[in-house]
Every structure is written in structure tokens, then in C-alpha cells.
Symmetry: C2
Subunit: 334 residues, 2 copies
């Protein structure tokens, strides 16, 4: 673990020792965060799955968001990547660039959030870096997971004839951001509060890891937006995916929002391109899809069939039988 910037005093050393080191307890590979690096022994028969997602204040979270929730979101957006790969959570490294406004109370709150979720998800802190910044709080987390050798679910395995499924509900990330920013005035308070919470604290689908690993032909986490992430699968697999927005699984809050929108198709397209859902979009053979839906139900995680895989390329999105024009990052207006 790296210490302070030159000349910035003892604060970062203290922060590592008093706040971060306890998060590495029980992980001998962390070397108590006293070293330049962590060391991970080979685990024959297993692959190490590595992902790295960053979050920037004002871009990925709001300046007023409580820092324990920010910490938990940071862990969860990375856990979402592991879940989509069928990988079991193992450990993480954290790089944090702190603005001057974040003193001991703020950092303590942040670490409380890390502790809460690392216990919930079975992770340990094994290294990283901490420094100051003249800019916004900027966080980067490297997450490590394990799969049996060769079992990681890639984006590239979709085949013509597969079905497209998605976990949970779609669009809550987008609506949650609007709610957290004080929008969605036409919805009732309970719905906006639920949506804002969904934005601040995603629910990575770790309960589906085993089922995804066993039955999915391809999978991606829904972070850029359902259509974009389905597009990643289409591109990596060299196939075409068709998504039927009439089958989009929506939360009650999103349904309430949809019911008061002037154009249903345009509204559904917004939800399918909004991002930050941290669900899993995946493909599977028809038999695999049956297993996934059944095992998901047993794990309390709903999976919904929303489309099909065919020869070709790209993503087609239909609503009420008509095709909508989307570009690869969102809905193309007009």
C-alpha cells in the first residue's frame, strides 16, 4: 500500500494504519498493507478474473451522497462485473484520491461502508493507494474473483438460436439518478425514494453467479445501458441480438413512471439505454434459459426472457412490433 504524497504529512499513513488495515484482516496475501504489493498464490484448476471500475464524484455519484453508500456502490459496481462473468468474489485493491474536504469523519464513514459490504459479499482489501487531489473524490477499485479453469462466461459466446435474458428490472438506474437529483416530481414519494436508493446502492446479482456460470453462453453486466451492453455481446460474439421492449422487466416505480409518459416506445427506449442498472444481460440456449430461470427463481432472482439471438450483427430493438432506431450508446432521437 502506498502512503502519502511527498510533503503532505502523516495523514495518509495514519489512514492506512487505522482505517484500511483492519479491512485486510484475515487475508495473508495483503501483508497487512505494509508492503509494496500483494502476493497471490497460484490456485491450480482455477482462473483469476480481474476487473477494474472507477467512480468520480459528480459523474458516477453525487457530491451529497453519503460516503458509506459511495463506498458500497464502488464495491458493488465491481461485484456486478464478477457476477456477470460467473466469478466468485475474492479480494480487491482500492485507489482513492481524496479532496481536502474529506477528513477523518468522512473517511471513517467511507470505510464503514467498505466493511459492511466486504463482509456481506466475502471480500478482503489486499492493497492499493491513497493520495490527495485538488479535484473531486476519485475512486478506482480492482476486483479479483475466481472461476474453475475455463469457466468464465465471456461476452463472446452467444450463438444464433440462443435466447436473451436479463436479471431483475431495467431502467431503475436512470430513473434513480433523476430521482436523486430531485426530478420525477410526478411520482409519489415512496417511488422516488426507492428509485434514488436503487441508484445509490446497486444490487449486484451475486446470487446468480453459479447459474450464470453453469448455463449462460455469454453475459455482460448492465452498466452502460441494456441496449449498449447487449450490443457488446453482439459485437464480441459476431451475432445479432433482438430485444423486445414490451418484455422489459420493470419495477413498480418504473411502471408508474412509464404510465405517465407521453410516448411509450420512446420512454421504454430511454429505460433500455439509461445505464447504471447493474443487472446481468445474458444469452443461453433454450434449455439453458429454462435452467437459468428456474435456478434464478430458487435464488430469489428473477430472470426474464427479452429477446433472441440470430445470425448477423448489432442490436435491434422492437416495441409494439416496430423497430426503434438506436445508436450504439443510446436512443437516437428523431
Amino acid at each position: 500500500m502506498r502512503g502519502p504524497d511527498p510533503g503532505r504529512g502523516v495523514d495518509e499513513f495514519d489512514a492506512i494504519e487505522r482505517l484500511l488495515r483492519p479491512l485486510s484482516e484475515g487475508a495473508p496475501e495483503a501483508l497487512g498493507l505494509l508492503d509494496d504489493a500483494a502476493v497471490i498464490s497460484a490456485r491450480p484448476g482455477f482462473d483469476l478474473v480481474v476487473s477494474k471500475d472507477a467512480m468520480v464524484e459528480g459523474v458516477h455519484f453525487l457530491p451529497e451522497d453519503p460516503l458509506d453508500l459511495v463506498a458500497r456502490k464502488l464495491l458493488r459496481v465491481n461485484l456486478s462485473d464478477l457476477a456477470a462473468k460467473g466469478a466468485d468474489p475474492y479480494a480487491y485493491l482500492l485507489a482513492a484520491a481524496w479532496p481536502a474536504r474529506c477528513g477523518w469523519p468522512e473517511r471513517t464513514l467511507f470505510v464503514q461502508g467498505l466493511r459492511q459490504d466486504q463482509e456481506l459479499y466475502g471480500l478482503k482489501l489486499i492493497g492499493g493507494d491513497t493520495s490527495s487531489t485538488p479535484g473531486p473524490l476519485t475512486l478506482s477499485l480492482t476486483i479479483l474473483g475466481w472461476t474453475p479453469a475455463g469457466a468464465m462466461v465471456r461476452r463472446s459466446g452467444a450463438r444464433a438460436g440462443d435466447l436473451v435474458l436479463v436479471s431483475g428490472t431495467i431502467g431503475d438506474g436512470l430513473l434513480g439518478l433523476k430521482a436523486a437529483q430531485g426530478g420525477l416530481q410526478d411520482l409519489d414519494g415512496a417511488a422516488t425514494a426507492w428509485l434514488a436508493d436503487r441508484y445509490r446502492l446497486p444490487q449486484p446479482r451475486v446470487g446468480l453467479i453459479q447459474a450464470v456460470r453453469s448455463h449462460a453462453s455469454a453475459a455482460a453486466d448492465v452498466s452502460d445501458g441494456l441496449a449498449a451492453d447487449a450490443g457488446h455481446i453482439a459485437e464480441a460474439s459476431g451475432v445479432a441480438l433482438t430485444l423486445d421492449l414490451d418484455r422489459l422487466p420493470l419495477s413498480p416505480a418504473a411502471q408508474a413512471w412509464l404510465s405517465i409518459q407521453p410516448e411509450r416506445a420512446a420512454a421504454l427506449a430511454q429505460l433500455a439505454t439509461g445505464g447504471d442498472d447493474y443487472e446481468i444481460v445474458l444469452t443461453a440456449s433454450p434449455v439453458g434459459a429454462q435452467h437459468l430461470i428456474e435456478e434464478g427463481r430458487q435464488a430469489g432472482r428473477v430472470l426474464t426472457e427479452i429477446g433472441k439471438v440470430a445470425a448477423g450483427q448489432g442490436v435491434r430493438v422492437t416495441c409494439a412490433g416496430k423497430e426503434l432506431a438506436l445508436d450504439r450508446t443510446g436512443w437516437r432521437h428523431g
Copy 2:
């Protein structure tokens, strides 16, 4: 590899595809940066060494520094950690938060720097994240290396009776920062240019990896400052290190600077606590130290004996036979 922030357009996708993906060529574990994660097969008989260092514009590099040099410094400060652990470079993940001022030309220059040094040091890009920021350019790199099982050199292995050695020269990082900021007016132009270059482009001691792994009892990279990093070894090993500043290896430029300072001991203490040298401080038995010095010489890398390990704790620093008062992050004035 993660794509854009919601609603920010296609730029980040294009950047991944056109700029970053070529950096992953030849690394099948990167999955072409088309996936949510990289996957690393178990390598029986080897340990994976993982380190993560961040750099923030205005803190770790200057806003006017050319971005190819910034990229190379980012790789090199992380390579320095691997070198100090005796680990062979393998791969890296990159998280970059780009301010709006960095368009295609700036990012292209940055990637040119990555390419230059990843070829020089034998690294491949295997994953990461890219996003925007309203703040300064903020970079985080996770570096991966290999050692034979159990062979990583830790900070915790120093024993009473060992000698303390340091690679290269000390203090150039601190003086280089001053030079890059336009200070050091009393030095000649060649010296200040050399120092500024040393600050902008550290020289990680990868040529010493094999020797460090074979003969060092403990080692750390000199990033926080020689005294502080020696202190990390003392703390992790439960021993006392004594450093003799009269034996501090200095570059000709640093010697020129030293010769015009009013107080020699205070000036040497500044160099020993300044940080950003990216040398290796290590301990070894007297026999091991002989091997290190000899193998270092063969590799064209000077190692200098600067102190001893004894029972006790902490770091003592002496100059002209007198002990200087330092706190754990620097020289304590007065």
C-alpha cells in the same frame, strides 16, 4: 473494459477501440478489451504479485507535463514496485478519468507513451476503465507480475546484522520536481534539465529484479522518501535501520546542488526524505550484499551500502557522526 458514462456519447467506446485495444494485442487474457473482465490462468509454481498506484494531475505530475511522459511515469512508478519485490513484469489494467481538455490528440499522445514503455518493459494492457471527470486528469494503474512461488521479496525480512543498500542515486526526484517547477536557478541548465527529466521519467530498476529476488532479505521501492521507505522495512521487519547520509549516492546534479547549500546535514536530510526517486532500498546479509553489488554492476546498476540493520525499531539517520531528528515522513526541522 468499461465504456462511457451514461449520456456522454461515443467517444470513450471509440477511444477503447482505436487507442487502447491495440495495446492488448498478443494478450489473450485481455479478451480484446471487449469484456467486463480479464481472465488469468493459474500458473502453478508461481505467485502473482499485484500492486496499484495512482497519479493525480497537480499532485504527482504537472499540468504542463507532456502526456506521453505522464503515461510512461505511470507505468514506471508501478514497475518500480514490482522491481522492489523481485517480480517479473506481466500485465496491467488502467483506469483513466479524463478532463474535457483532453481530446483525441492528448489521448493519442498518452497511448503512444504507454506503447513505448510497455514494449520496453514487456507489459500488455489487459483491462480497465475510462471515464470523464470535471477535475484533474486522474490515473490509476494496477500492475501484475510473477515470481516463483514464495520468492517475492517482502518488507518484513530484514534481520539484525544485515546491511542496507540502495540502488542508483537518491534525491533526484525531489530536486527534479523543483527543477521542473522552475526552481534551482543556481544550477546550470544541463543539471536542471537532467533533474527535471528524472522527475518526469523515473527509471524503475527492473535490471535488478533477479538479483533482488536472489539475495535481498527485504526491499521497498523509494517513493515516499528513502527514510520513510526504510522505515517501512524497519516497521514490517521489527528491526532498527541506521542510514549514514554521508554514504548517500548522489547524482552529479545533486552533488552540484549540495555544494551550494548552507547546511550540508539539513540538505542531505532533504534528499533522503524527498520521495519520488523510484530506486530500491533493500537489506541483505553481508554475503548477499556482495552478490547484489556484483550482480548490479554486471547489470549496469549501481548499488551502494548506506547503513545497517540492528535489533530495535525505527530508522536512525546519521550525518558526520551525529544523529539527525527525522519524523516518519520527513526531516523534522528544529
